[in-house]
Protein backbone atom coordinates (compact mmCIF):
# COMPACT_ATOMS: atom_id res chain seq x y z
CA UNK A 1 0.00 0.00 0.00
CA UNK A 2 1.21 3.49 -0.77
CA UNK A 3 1.47 5.39 2.48
CA UNK A 4 1.62 8.69 0.60
CA UNK A 5 -1.79 8.19 -0.97
CA UNK A 6 -4.53 10.61 0.04
CA UNK A 7 -7.90 9.01 0.68
CA UNK A 8 -11.25 10.73 0.25
CA UNK A 9 -14.85 9.58 0.66
CA UNK A 10 -18.03 9.55 2.66
CA UNK A 11 -18.42 8.24 6.19
CA UNK A 12 -20.70 5.37 7.20
CA UNK A 13 -21.14 5.50 10.93
CA UNK A 14 -21.49 2.45 13.17
CA UNK A 15 -21.63 2.07 16.95
CA UNK A 16 -19.46 0.36 19.60
CA UNK A 17 -18.61 -3.37 19.60
CA UNK A 18 -19.05 -4.07 15.89
CA UNK A 19 -18.23 -7.80 15.93
CA UNK A 20 -16.86 -9.92 13.11
CA UNK A 21 -20.23 -11.71 13.25
CA UNK A 22 -21.87 -8.43 12.19
CA UNK A 23 -19.22 -7.84 9.50
CA UNK A 24 -19.05 -11.35 8.01
CA UNK A 25 -22.02 -13.35 9.39
CA UNK A 26 -21.54 -17.05 10.12
CA UNK A 27 -24.59 -17.96 8.05
CA UNK A 28 -22.51 -17.07 4.96
CA UNK A 29 -19.74 -19.43 6.04
CA UNK A 30 -20.04 -21.26 2.72
CA UNK A 31 -19.13 -18.07 0.83
CA UNK A 32 -15.73 -17.76 2.45
CA UNK A 33 -14.23 -19.43 -0.59
CA UNK A 34 -16.00 -16.85 -2.79
CA UNK A 35 -14.94 -13.52 -1.33
CA UNK A 36 -16.59 -11.23 -3.94
CA UNK A 37 -19.92 -12.91 -3.14
CA UNK A 38 -19.27 -12.69 0.61
CA UNK A 39 -18.46 -8.99 0.18
CA UNK A 40 -22.06 -8.42 -0.97
CA UNK A 41 -23.06 -9.16 2.64
CA UNK A 42 -20.41 -7.05 4.35
CA UNK A 43 -21.66 -5.50 7.62
CA UNK A 44 -25.11 -6.78 6.75
CA UNK A 45 -26.18 -7.43 10.32
CA UNK A 46 -25.18 -3.93 11.41
CA UNK A 47 -26.74 -2.18 8.38
CA UNK A 48 -28.52 -4.40 5.83
CA UNK A 49 -28.23 -1.71 3.12
CA UNK A 50 -24.53 -0.94 3.61
CA UNK A 51 -23.15 -3.09 0.81
CA UNK A 52 -25.51 -1.46 -1.68
CA UNK A 53 -24.81 2.10 -0.53
CA UNK A 54 -21.03 2.07 -0.14
CA UNK A 55 -18.93 3.58 -2.96
CA UNK A 56 -15.24 2.99 -3.62
CA UNK A 57 -13.17 5.17 -1.31
CA UNK A 58 -15.82 5.55 1.40
CA UNK A 59 -15.01 5.01 5.07
CA UNK A 60 -16.37 2.76 7.78
CA UNK A 61 -16.43 4.69 11.06
CA UNK A 62 -16.96 2.78 14.29
CA UNK A 63 -16.85 3.41 18.02
CA UNK A 64 -15.06 1.40 20.69
CA UNK A 65 -13.63 -2.12 20.15
CA UNK A 66 -14.27 -2.41 16.42
CA UNK A 67 -13.87 -5.93 15.02
CA UNK A 68 -14.15 -7.90 18.25
CA UNK A 69 -14.79 -11.60 18.09
CA UNK A 70 -13.55 -14.20 15.71
CA UNK A 71 -10.18 -14.33 13.97
CA UNK A 72 -11.79 -14.49 10.51
CA UNK A 73 -9.54 -12.46 8.24
CA UNK A 74 -12.47 -12.50 5.82
CA UNK A 75 -13.93 -9.61 7.84
CA UNK A 76 -11.35 -6.93 6.93
CA UNK A 77 -10.86 -8.54 3.51
CA UNK A 78 -14.48 -8.03 2.47
CA UNK A 79 -14.55 -4.49 3.90
CA UNK A 80 -11.60 -3.81 1.59
CA UNK A 81 -13.22 -5.68 -1.33
CA UNK A 82 -16.34 -3.52 -0.92
CA UNK A 83 -14.08 -0.59 -1.82
CA UNK A 84 -13.74 0.92 1.65
CA UNK A 85 -10.63 3.14 1.88
CA UNK A 86 -10.06 2.88 5.62
CA UNK A 87 -11.75 1.90 8.88
CA UNK A 88 -11.76 4.53 11.61
CA UNK A 89 -12.59 3.71 15.22
CA UNK A 90 -11.90 4.79 18.77
CA UNK A 91 -10.29 1.42 19.37
CA UNK A 92 -9.88 -1.91 17.60
CA UNK A 93 -9.93 -5.51 18.77
CA UNK A 94 -6.46 -7.01 18.57
CA UNK A 95 -6.84 -9.76 15.96
CA UNK A 96 -8.94 -7.59 13.66
CA UNK A 97 -6.33 -4.81 13.78
CA UNK A 98 -3.52 -7.21 12.93
CA UNK A 99 -5.58 -8.71 10.12
CA UNK A 100 -6.23 -5.24 8.65
CA UNK A 101 -2.50 -4.67 8.27
CA UNK A 102 -2.00 -8.13 6.76
CA UNK A 103 -4.68 -7.53 4.12
CA UNK A 104 -3.68 -3.91 3.51
CA UNK A 105 -6.73 -2.13 4.92
CA UNK A 106 -5.78 1.02 6.89
CA UNK A 107 -7.24 0.90 10.42
CA UNK A 108 -7.00 4.29 12.10
CA UNK A 109 -7.52 4.99 15.80
CA UNK A 110 -9.07 8.41 16.34
CA UNK A 111 -11.87 10.32 18.05
CA UNK A 112 -14.79 9.25 15.89
CA UNK A 113 -17.28 11.33 17.93
CA UNK A 114 -16.21 14.17 15.63
CA UNK A 115 -17.57 12.36 12.59
CA UNK A 116 -21.24 11.91 11.69
CA UNK A 117 -22.90 9.64 9.15
CA UNK A 118 -22.42 11.04 5.68
CA UNK A 119 -19.57 13.47 6.49
CA UNK A 120 -17.04 13.83 3.69
CA UNK A 121 -13.53 13.02 4.91
CA UNK A 122 -10.04 13.42 3.47
CA UNK A 123 -7.30 11.34 5.02
CA UNK A 124 -3.58 11.89 4.84
CA UNK A 125 -2.17 8.53 5.94
CA UNK A 126 1.40 9.69 6.26
CA UNK A 127 0.53 12.98 7.92
CA UNK A 128 -1.67 11.27 10.51
CA UNK A 129 -4.58 13.58 9.90
CA UNK A 130 -8.23 13.38 8.91
CA UNK A 131 -9.96 16.44 7.51
CA UNK A 132 -13.71 16.46 8.09
CA UNK A 133 -14.89 18.68 5.24
CA UNK A 134 -18.46 18.96 6.46
CA UNK A 135 -17.42 20.12 9.89
CA UNK A 136 -14.27 21.90 8.71
CA UNK A 137 -12.18 20.27 11.45
CA UNK A 138 -8.97 18.28 11.54
CA UNK A 139 -8.82 15.06 13.53
CA UNK A 140 -5.51 13.47 14.45
CA UNK A 141 -5.06 9.71 14.42
CA UNK A 142 -2.42 7.67 16.22
CA UNK A 143 0.34 6.77 13.78
CA UNK A 144 0.61 3.05 13.02
CA UNK A 145 3.27 1.14 14.95
CA UNK A 146 6.56 0.98 13.04
CA UNK A 147 6.44 -2.77 12.46
CA UNK A 148 3.04 -2.41 10.89
CA UNK A 149 4.19 0.36 8.57
CA UNK A 150 7.01 -1.93 7.49
CA UNK A 151 4.59 -4.79 6.76
CA UNK A 152 2.12 -2.49 5.01
CA UNK A 153 4.75 -0.92 2.78
CA UNK A 154 6.02 -4.38 1.78
CA UNK A 155 2.49 -5.07 0.55
CA UNK A 156 1.17 -6.95 3.59
CA UNK A 157 2.64 -9.90 5.45
CA UNK A 158 3.03 -12.28 2.51
CA UNK A 159 4.79 -9.49 0.58
CA UNK A 160 7.09 -8.88 3.55
CA UNK A 161 8.01 -12.56 3.84
CA UNK A 162 8.60 -12.94 0.10
CA UNK A 163 10.70 -9.80 -0.14
CA UNK A 164 12.90 -10.61 2.84
CA UNK A 165 12.78 -14.40 2.58
CA UNK A 166 11.55 -14.42 6.13
CA UNK A 167 10.93 -11.84 8.83
CA UNK A 168 12.89 -8.61 8.83
CA UNK A 169 11.17 -6.48 11.45
Amino acid sequence: MEMSKKLAGKSFKFGDDISTDLIAPGRYFHLRSNLPELAKHVLEDADPEFAKKVKPGDFVVGGRNFGLGSSREHAPTIIKLAGVGAVLAKSFARIFYRNCINVGLPALKCDTDKIDEGDILEIDLKGGEIFNKDKNIKIKFNPLPEVMIKILSDGGLTGHIKKNEGFNL
Binding site: L22, H30, S33, N65, R72
Partner: protein, 417 residues
Protein backbone atom coordinates in the same frame (compact mmCIF):
# COMPACT_ATOMS: atom_id res chain seq x y z
CA UNK B 1 11.53 -7.26 39.02
CA UNK B 2 10.33 -10.75 38.17
CA UNK B 3 8.86 -11.78 34.87
CA UNK B 4 5.30 -12.59 33.94
CA UNK B 5 4.60 -16.08 32.56
CA UNK B 6 4.13 -14.58 29.10
CA UNK B 7 7.47 -12.75 29.25
CA UNK B 8 9.22 -15.96 30.30
CA UNK B 9 7.73 -18.09 27.53
CA UNK B 10 8.13 -15.50 24.79
CA UNK B 11 11.71 -14.77 25.88
CA UNK B 12 12.61 -18.47 25.60
CA UNK B 13 11.19 -18.60 22.08
CA UNK B 14 12.84 -15.34 21.00
CA UNK B 15 16.23 -16.43 22.33
CA UNK B 16 16.62 -13.33 24.48
CA UNK B 17 15.24 -11.52 27.52
CA UNK B 18 12.06 -9.65 26.72
CA UNK B 19 9.70 -7.32 28.52
CA UNK B 20 6.19 -6.07 27.86
CA UNK B 21 6.07 -3.82 24.81
CA UNK B 22 9.00 -5.47 22.96
CA UNK B 23 8.32 -6.66 19.44
CA UNK B 24 10.01 -9.96 18.67
CA UNK B 25 10.07 -12.78 16.14
CA UNK B 26 9.57 -16.12 17.92
CA UNK B 27 9.64 -19.82 17.11
CA UNK B 28 6.24 -21.41 17.51
CA UNK B 29 5.56 -24.96 18.68
CA UNK B 30 2.00 -25.61 17.53
CA UNK B 31 0.19 -24.05 14.55
CA UNK B 32 -3.40 -24.70 13.55
CA UNK B 33 -6.31 -23.55 11.45
CA UNK B 34 -9.91 -24.73 11.20
CA UNK B 35 -12.24 -25.24 8.27
CA UNK B 36 -13.40 -21.62 8.25
CA UNK B 37 -9.93 -20.08 8.27
CA UNK B 38 -7.81 -22.93 6.88
CA UNK B 39 -8.58 -22.63 3.15
CA UNK B 40 -7.42 -18.99 3.11
CA UNK B 41 -4.30 -19.98 5.05
CA UNK B 42 -3.58 -22.66 2.42
CA UNK B 43 -3.95 -20.04 -0.34
CA UNK B 44 -1.49 -17.77 1.43
CA UNK B 45 1.03 -20.55 2.03
CA UNK B 46 0.96 -21.19 -1.71
CA UNK B 47 1.10 -17.45 -2.52
CA UNK B 48 4.36 -17.24 -0.61
CA UNK B 49 5.72 -20.12 -2.66
CA UNK B 50 5.82 -22.75 0.09
CA UNK B 51 4.78 -26.35 -0.54
CA UNK B 52 5.46 -27.92 2.83
CA UNK B 53 4.87 -26.97 6.42
CA UNK B 54 7.89 -26.52 8.62
CA UNK B 55 6.87 -28.71 11.51
CA UNK B 56 4.33 -31.28 10.21
CA UNK B 57 3.75 -33.11 13.50
CA UNK B 58 2.47 -29.94 15.14
CA UNK B 59 0.75 -28.34 12.15
CA UNK B 60 -2.92 -29.26 12.22
CA UNK B 61 -6.02 -28.50 10.18
CA UNK B 62 -9.27 -29.11 12.06
CA UNK B 63 -12.52 -29.82 10.26
CA UNK B 64 -14.90 -28.85 13.03
CA UNK B 65 -16.94 -25.72 12.31
CA UNK B 66 -19.06 -27.22 9.55
CA UNK B 67 -18.62 -30.90 10.30
CA UNK B 68 -20.22 -32.93 8.84
CA UNK B 69 -20.55 -30.50 5.94
CA UNK B 70 -24.05 -29.15 5.36
CA UNK B 71 -23.43 -28.02 1.76
CA UNK B 72 -21.19 -28.53 -1.24
CA UNK B 73 -19.22 -25.27 -0.97
CA UNK B 74 -18.07 -26.31 2.49
CA UNK B 75 -17.41 -29.88 1.36
CA UNK B 76 -15.11 -28.40 -1.27
CA UNK B 77 -13.31 -26.31 1.36
CA UNK B 78 -12.84 -29.47 3.39
CA UNK B 79 -11.31 -31.14 0.33
CA UNK B 80 -8.83 -28.26 0.01
CA UNK B 81 -7.67 -28.91 3.57
CA UNK B 82 -7.44 -32.69 3.19
CA UNK B 83 -5.50 -32.39 -0.06
CA UNK B 84 -3.09 -29.84 1.34
CA UNK B 85 -2.54 -31.88 4.49
CA UNK B 86 -1.81 -34.92 2.35
CA UNK B 87 0.74 -33.10 0.23
CA UNK B 88 2.37 -30.97 2.90
CA UNK B 89 2.54 -33.52 5.69
CA UNK B 90 0.35 -31.44 7.99
CA UNK B 91 -2.10 -33.30 10.20
CA UNK B 92 -5.81 -33.32 9.63
CA UNK B 93 -8.44 -33.76 12.33
CA UNK B 94 -11.52 -34.71 10.37
CA UNK B 95 -15.30 -34.87 10.82
CA UNK B 96 -16.26 -36.35 14.17
CA UNK B 97 -12.91 -35.79 15.89
CA UNK B 98 -13.98 -32.62 17.67
CA UNK B 99 -13.45 -28.90 18.20
CA UNK B 100 -9.96 -27.62 17.45
CA UNK B 101 -9.24 -26.19 20.91
CA UNK B 102 -10.34 -29.35 22.66
CA UNK B 103 -8.23 -31.47 20.30
CA UNK B 104 -5.22 -29.19 20.94
CA UNK B 105 -5.35 -29.65 24.69
CA UNK B 106 -5.87 -33.40 24.36
CA UNK B 107 -3.07 -34.11 21.90
CA UNK B 108 -0.84 -31.16 21.05
CA UNK B 109 -0.35 -28.16 23.38
CA UNK B 110 2.24 -28.43 26.15
CA UNK B 111 3.20 -26.19 29.07
CA UNK B 112 5.71 -23.55 27.97
CA UNK B 113 4.75 -23.80 24.30
CA UNK B 114 3.83 -20.99 21.98
CA UNK B 115 0.61 -22.05 20.27
CA UNK B 116 -0.89 -20.00 17.46
CA UNK B 117 -4.15 -20.72 15.71
CA UNK B 118 -6.43 -19.17 13.13
CA UNK B 119 -9.25 -19.08 15.63
CA UNK B 120 -9.79 -16.53 18.36
CA UNK B 121 -10.29 -19.09 21.13
CA UNK B 122 -6.82 -20.55 20.69
CA UNK B 123 -6.23 -18.97 24.11
CA UNK B 124 -7.86 -22.13 25.58
CA UNK B 125 -4.47 -23.87 25.60
CA UNK B 126 -3.31 -21.18 28.05
CA UNK B 127 -4.83 -23.30 30.81
CA UNK B 128 -1.97 -25.75 30.25
CA UNK B 129 0.61 -23.02 30.80
CA UNK B 130 1.17 -22.34 27.11
CA UNK B 131 1.30 -18.91 25.53
CA UNK B 132 -1.58 -19.50 23.14
CA UNK B 133 -3.18 -16.89 20.95
CA UNK B 134 -5.45 -16.46 17.94
CA UNK B 135 -4.52 -14.76 14.68
CA UNK B 136 -5.81 -14.44 11.13
CA UNK B 137 -5.23 -16.83 8.23
CA UNK B 138 -2.25 -14.95 6.77
CA UNK B 139 -0.33 -14.85 10.05
CA UNK B 140 -1.08 -18.54 10.50
CA UNK B 141 0.05 -19.29 6.93
CA UNK B 142 3.45 -17.85 7.84
CA UNK B 143 3.37 -19.91 11.05
CA UNK B 144 2.71 -23.11 9.10
CA UNK B 145 5.38 -22.39 6.50
CA UNK B 146 8.17 -21.15 8.79
CA UNK B 147 7.20 -22.13 12.36
CA UNK B 148 7.68 -18.49 13.29
CA UNK B 149 5.58 -15.44 13.99
CA UNK B 150 6.00 -11.91 15.28
CA UNK B 151 4.55 -10.80 18.58
CA UNK B 152 4.35 -7.79 20.77
CA UNK B 153 5.11 -8.98 24.28
CA UNK B 154 1.88 -8.19 26.14
CA UNK B 155 1.44 -6.43 29.44
CA UNK B 156 -0.18 -8.73 31.98
CA UNK B 157 -3.20 -8.33 34.21
CA UNK B 158 -2.96 -10.73 37.13
CA UNK B 159 -6.25 -12.21 38.26
CA UNK B 160 -6.05 -13.58 41.79
CA UNK B 161 -8.87 -16.01 42.37
CA UNK B 162 -9.71 -16.44 46.02
CA UNK B 163 -12.55 -17.43 48.32
CA UNK B 164 -14.41 -20.68 48.62
CA UNK B 165 -16.45 -21.36 45.50
CA UNK B 166 -20.13 -21.94 46.46
CA UNK B 167 -21.38 -25.43 45.57
CA UNK B 168 -23.50 -24.40 42.59
CA UNK B 169 -21.14 -21.84 41.08
CA UNK B 170 -18.91 -22.95 38.24
CA UNK B 171 -15.87 -21.81 36.25
CA UNK B 172 -18.24 -20.37 33.63
CA UNK B 173 -19.78 -18.15 36.30
CA UNK B 174 -16.32 -16.96 37.37
CA UNK B 175 -15.27 -15.95 33.88
CA UNK B 176 -18.61 -14.36 32.92
CA UNK B 177 -18.46 -12.34 36.11
CA UNK B 178 -14.87 -11.28 35.41
CA UNK B 179 -15.69 -10.19 31.84
CA UNK B 180 -18.62 -8.17 33.16
CA UNK B 181 -16.20 -6.40 35.44
CA UNK B 182 -13.39 -5.64 32.98
CA UNK B 183 -15.62 -5.36 29.85
CA UNK B 184 -15.20 -6.65 26.31
CA UNK B 185 -12.05 -4.61 25.66
CA UNK B 186 -10.69 -4.33 29.21
CA UNK B 187 -7.75 -6.59 28.41
CA UNK B 188 -7.09 -5.72 24.74
CA UNK B 189 -3.42 -6.42 23.83
CA UNK B 190 -2.86 -7.79 27.32
CA UNK B 191 -2.41 -11.23 28.80
CA UNK B 192 -4.59 -12.41 31.65
CA UNK B 193 -2.57 -14.47 34.12
CA UNK B 194 -4.57 -16.46 36.64
CA UNK B 195 -3.36 -17.23 40.13
CA UNK B 196 -4.49 -17.25 43.75
CA UNK B 197 -5.52 -19.85 46.32
CA UNK B 198 -8.61 -21.01 44.42
CA UNK B 199 -6.43 -22.57 41.72
CA UNK B 200 -5.89 -25.56 43.97
CA UNK B 201 -9.61 -26.27 43.66
CA UNK B 202 -9.97 -25.69 39.93
CA UNK B 203 -9.93 -28.78 37.73
CA UNK B 204 -8.38 -28.64 34.26
CA UNK B 205 -11.89 -28.51 32.80
CA UNK B 206 -12.55 -25.40 34.93
CA UNK B 207 -9.31 -23.80 33.79
CA UNK B 208 -10.00 -24.53 30.11
CA UNK B 209 -13.36 -22.78 30.39
CA UNK B 210 -11.72 -19.74 31.98
CA UNK B 211 -8.80 -19.52 29.51
CA UNK B 212 -11.19 -20.07 26.59
CA UNK B 213 -13.08 -16.88 27.35
CA UNK B 214 -10.06 -14.61 27.97
CA UNK B 215 -10.46 -13.29 24.43
CA UNK B 216 -13.97 -12.11 25.30
CA UNK B 217 -12.26 -9.44 27.39
CA UNK B 218 -10.02 -8.69 24.40
CA UNK B 219 -7.04 -10.54 25.90
CA UNK B 220 -4.24 -12.00 23.82
CA UNK B 221 -4.07 -15.05 26.04
CA UNK B 222 -5.41 -16.35 29.35
CA UNK B 223 -2.63 -18.24 31.04
CA UNK B 224 -2.34 -20.46 34.13
CA UNK B 225 0.73 -21.65 35.99
CA UNK B 226 1.14 -25.44 36.06
CA UNK B 227 0.80 -27.73 39.08
CA UNK B 228 -0.12 -31.31 39.98
CA UNK B 229 -3.56 -30.83 38.46
CA UNK B 230 -1.91 -30.01 35.12
CA UNK B 231 0.45 -32.94 35.55
CA UNK B 232 -2.40 -35.39 36.23
CA UNK B 233 -4.34 -34.10 33.25
CA UNK B 234 -1.41 -34.61 30.88
CA UNK B 235 -0.90 -38.09 32.32
CA UNK B 236 -4.57 -38.87 31.63
CA UNK B 237 -3.93 -37.93 27.98
CA UNK B 238 -0.78 -40.13 27.89
CA UNK B 239 1.37 -37.02 27.59
CA UNK B 240 3.22 -36.95 30.91
CA UNK B 241 6.47 -36.27 29.08
CA UNK B 242 5.40 -32.80 28.05
CA UNK B 243 4.79 -31.53 31.58
CA UNK B 244 6.87 -28.53 32.62
CA UNK B 245 6.82 -26.30 35.67
CA UNK B 246 5.43 -22.91 34.78
CA UNK B 247 5.25 -20.61 37.75
CA UNK B 248 4.17 -17.07 38.50
CA UNK B 249 6.52 -14.67 40.20
CA UNK B 250 4.98 -12.55 42.89
CA UNK B 251 7.15 -9.55 42.04
CA UNK B 252 6.44 -9.67 38.30
CA UNK B 253 5.72 -6.37 36.64
CA UNK B 254 1.95 -6.61 36.32
CA UNK B 255 0.02 -3.85 34.64
CA UNK B 256 -2.82 -4.46 37.04
CA UNK B 257 -3.85 -6.93 39.73
CA UNK B 258 -7.48 -7.89 40.22
CA UNK B 259 -8.46 -9.81 43.35
CA UNK B 260 -11.65 -11.76 42.93
CA UNK B 261 -13.52 -13.20 45.89
CA UNK B 262 -15.26 -16.13 44.22
CA UNK B 263 -17.00 -17.03 47.49
CA UNK B 264 -19.46 -14.26 46.81
CA UNK B 265 -20.41 -15.34 43.29
CA UNK B 266 -23.72 -16.70 42.13
CA UNK B 267 -24.73 -18.25 38.79
CA UNK B 268 -24.19 -15.66 36.05
CA UNK B 269 -25.76 -14.88 32.68
CA UNK B 270 -24.49 -12.88 29.69
CA UNK B 271 -27.53 -11.29 28.08
CA UNK B 272 -27.80 -10.36 24.37
CA UNK B 273 -25.85 -9.11 22.44
CA UNK B 274 -22.46 -8.80 24.16
CA UNK B 275 -20.61 -11.10 26.55
CA UNK B 276 -19.93 -8.26 28.98
CA UNK B 277 -23.66 -7.59 29.32
CA UNK B 278 -23.66 -9.72 32.47
CA UNK B 279 -26.28 -10.14 35.14
CA UNK B 280 -26.67 -12.30 38.26
CA UNK B 281 -29.29 -14.94 37.64
CA UNK B 282 -31.29 -13.76 40.65
CA UNK B 283 -31.66 -10.35 39.05
CA UNK B 284 -32.79 -11.61 35.65
CA UNK B 285 -36.42 -11.24 34.64
CA UNK B 286 -38.21 -14.32 33.29
CA UNK B 287 -36.73 -15.31 29.90
CA UNK B 288 -38.68 -17.97 27.98
CA UNK B 289 -36.55 -20.29 25.82
CA UNK B 290 -36.90 -21.96 22.43
CA UNK B 291 -33.54 -23.68 22.40
CA UNK B 292 -30.83 -24.73 24.84
CA UNK B 293 -27.37 -25.67 23.61
CA UNK B 294 -24.78 -27.50 25.71
CA UNK B 295 -21.40 -27.90 24.04
CA UNK B 296 -18.50 -25.98 22.38
CA UNK B 297 -14.86 -25.37 23.20
CA UNK B 298 -16.06 -23.52 26.30
CA UNK B 299 -18.32 -26.11 27.92
CA UNK B 300 -18.57 -29.31 25.90
CA UNK B 301 -16.26 -31.33 28.15
CA UNK B 302 -17.00 -34.47 30.15
CA UNK B 303 -17.63 -32.66 33.45
CA UNK B 304 -20.06 -30.36 31.64
CA UNK B 305 -22.03 -33.23 30.13
CA UNK B 306 -21.93 -35.01 33.47
CA UNK B 307 -23.50 -32.17 35.44
CA UNK B 308 -26.11 -31.71 32.70
CA UNK B 309 -26.98 -35.42 32.84
CA UNK B 310 -27.13 -35.31 36.63
CA UNK B 311 -29.80 -32.61 36.38
CA UNK B 312 -31.66 -34.06 33.39
CA UNK B 313 -31.68 -37.74 34.36
CA UNK B 314 -35.22 -39.01 34.79
CA UNK B 315 -36.70 -35.64 33.81
CA UNK B 316 -37.95 -34.26 30.51
CA UNK B 317 -36.98 -31.18 28.55
CA UNK B 318 -39.86 -28.66 28.66
CA UNK B 319 -42.43 -28.79 25.88
CA UNK B 320 -41.54 -26.35 23.13
CA UNK B 321 -37.82 -26.32 24.01
CA UNK B 322 -35.16 -28.00 21.88
CA UNK B 323 -32.09 -29.23 23.75
CA UNK B 324 -29.00 -29.72 21.58
CA UNK B 325 -25.91 -31.37 23.06
CA UNK B 326 -22.55 -31.57 21.28
CA UNK B 327 -19.59 -33.26 22.99
CA UNK B 328 -16.42 -31.26 22.26
CA UNK B 329 -14.42 -34.27 21.07
CA UNK B 330 -14.58 -37.94 20.20
CA UNK B 331 -12.69 -38.78 23.39
CA UNK B 332 -15.30 -36.99 25.48
CA UNK B 333 -18.16 -38.53 23.49
CA UNK B 334 -16.80 -42.05 23.96
CA UNK B 335 -16.31 -41.55 27.68
CA UNK B 336 -19.80 -40.04 28.03
CA UNK B 337 -21.28 -43.08 26.28
CA UNK B 338 -19.39 -45.44 28.59
CA UNK B 339 -20.61 -43.60 31.67
CA UNK B 340 -24.25 -43.65 30.55
CA UNK B 341 -24.33 -39.86 30.31
CA UNK B 342 -25.45 -39.83 26.68
CA UNK B 343 -28.33 -42.22 27.38
CA UNK B 344 -29.55 -40.00 30.23
CA UNK B 345 -29.38 -36.94 28.01
CA UNK B 346 -31.12 -38.53 25.04
CA UNK B 347 -33.85 -40.01 27.24
CA UNK B 348 -34.54 -36.58 28.67
CA UNK B 349 -35.14 -35.27 25.15
CA UNK B 350 -31.72 -34.01 24.04
CA UNK B 351 -30.61 -34.18 20.41
CA UNK B 352 -26.96 -35.26 20.62
CA UNK B 353 -24.83 -34.35 17.59
CA UNK B 354 -21.39 -35.35 16.34
CA UNK B 355 -18.38 -33.75 18.10
CA UNK B 356 -17.57 -30.35 16.63
CA UNK B 357 -18.70 -26.73 16.94
CA UNK B 358 -22.37 -27.56 16.41
CA UNK B 359 -24.69 -24.55 16.24
CA UNK B 360 -22.17 -22.20 17.92
CA UNK B 361 -21.28 -20.19 14.84
CA UNK B 362 -24.55 -20.29 12.91
CA UNK B 363 -23.48 -22.62 10.12
CA UNK B 364 -25.74 -25.59 10.76
CA UNK B 365 -27.34 -27.84 13.38
CA UNK B 366 -29.61 -25.44 15.22
CA UNK B 367 -29.78 -22.02 13.59
CA UNK B 368 -32.37 -19.88 15.37
CA UNK B 369 -35.67 -18.68 13.91
CA UNK B 370 -36.85 -15.06 13.88
CA UNK B 371 -37.35 -13.77 17.40
CA UNK B 372 -36.22 -17.03 18.99
CA UNK B 373 -34.28 -17.19 22.25
CA UNK B 374 -31.44 -19.60 23.02
CA UNK B 375 -29.56 -20.30 26.22
CA UNK B 376 -26.10 -21.59 25.33
CA UNK B 377 -22.96 -22.72 27.10
CA UNK B 378 -20.81 -21.20 24.33
CA UNK B 379 -18.55 -18.19 24.74
CA UNK B 380 -20.20 -15.46 22.72
CA UNK B 381 -23.67 -14.14 22.09
CA UNK B 382 -23.14 -11.52 19.41
CA UNK B 383 -26.08 -10.54 17.26
CA UNK B 384 -26.42 -13.06 14.44
CA UNK B 385 -23.95 -15.50 16.00
CA UNK B 386 -26.30 -18.48 15.77
CA UNK B 387 -27.33 -17.81 12.20
CA UNK B 388 -30.01 -15.16 12.67
CA UNK B 389 -29.62 -11.46 13.53
CA UNK B 390 -33.25 -11.45 14.70
CA UNK B 391 -32.64 -13.89 17.54
CA UNK B 392 -31.37 -13.65 21.11
CA UNK B 393 -28.57 -15.61 22.80
CA UNK B 394 -27.98 -15.84 26.53
CA UNK B 395 -24.83 -17.49 27.94
CA UNK B 396 -24.53 -19.59 31.08
CA UNK B 397 -22.93 -22.66 32.65
CA UNK B 398 -24.04 -26.20 31.71
CA UNK B 399 -25.87 -26.57 35.04
CA UNK B 400 -27.92 -23.44 34.40
CA UNK B 401 -28.53 -24.58 30.81
CA UNK B 402 -29.72 -28.07 31.83
CA UNK B 403 -32.07 -26.88 34.56
CA UNK B 404 -33.44 -24.15 32.28
CA UNK B 405 -34.14 -26.75 29.56
CA UNK B 406 -36.39 -28.58 32.01
CA UNK B 407 -38.15 -25.44 33.22
CA UNK B 408 -38.55 -23.84 29.77
CA UNK B 409 -37.17 -20.50 30.92
CA UNK B 410 -33.81 -19.37 32.32
CA UNK B 411 -33.70 -20.84 35.82
CA UNK B 412 -31.34 -20.90 38.76
CA UNK B 413 -29.59 -24.31 39.12
CA UNK B 414 -29.46 -23.78 42.88
CA UNK B 415 -33.13 -24.79 42.85
CA UNK B 416 -32.12 -28.33 41.93
CA UNK B 417 -28.50 -28.96 42.95
Amino acid sequence: MGKTISEKIIGKHAGKEVKAGDIVVVDVDVVMAQDGTGPLAVDQIKNMGFKKVKNPDKSIFFIDHAAPSPRKELSNSHMVLRNFANKSGAKISDVGEGVCHQRLIEDYSCPGDIVIGADSHTCTSGALGAFATGMGSTDIAVGFAMAKTWLMVPETIKINLGGKLPKVVFAKDIIISLIGKITSDGATYKALEFGGPLLANLTMDDRFTISNMAVEAGAKTGIFPTDNITKDYLASQNRSDCFKEISTEEDADYKDIINMDCGKLEPMISAPHTVDNTIKISELEKVELNQVFIGTCTNGRLSDLKIAAEILKGKKVAKGVRLIVVPASKKIYTEAIKEGIITDLVESGAAVMAPGCGPCVGVHEGALGDGEVCLSTQNRNFKGRMGNPDSFIYLASPATAAWSAIKGYISDPREVL
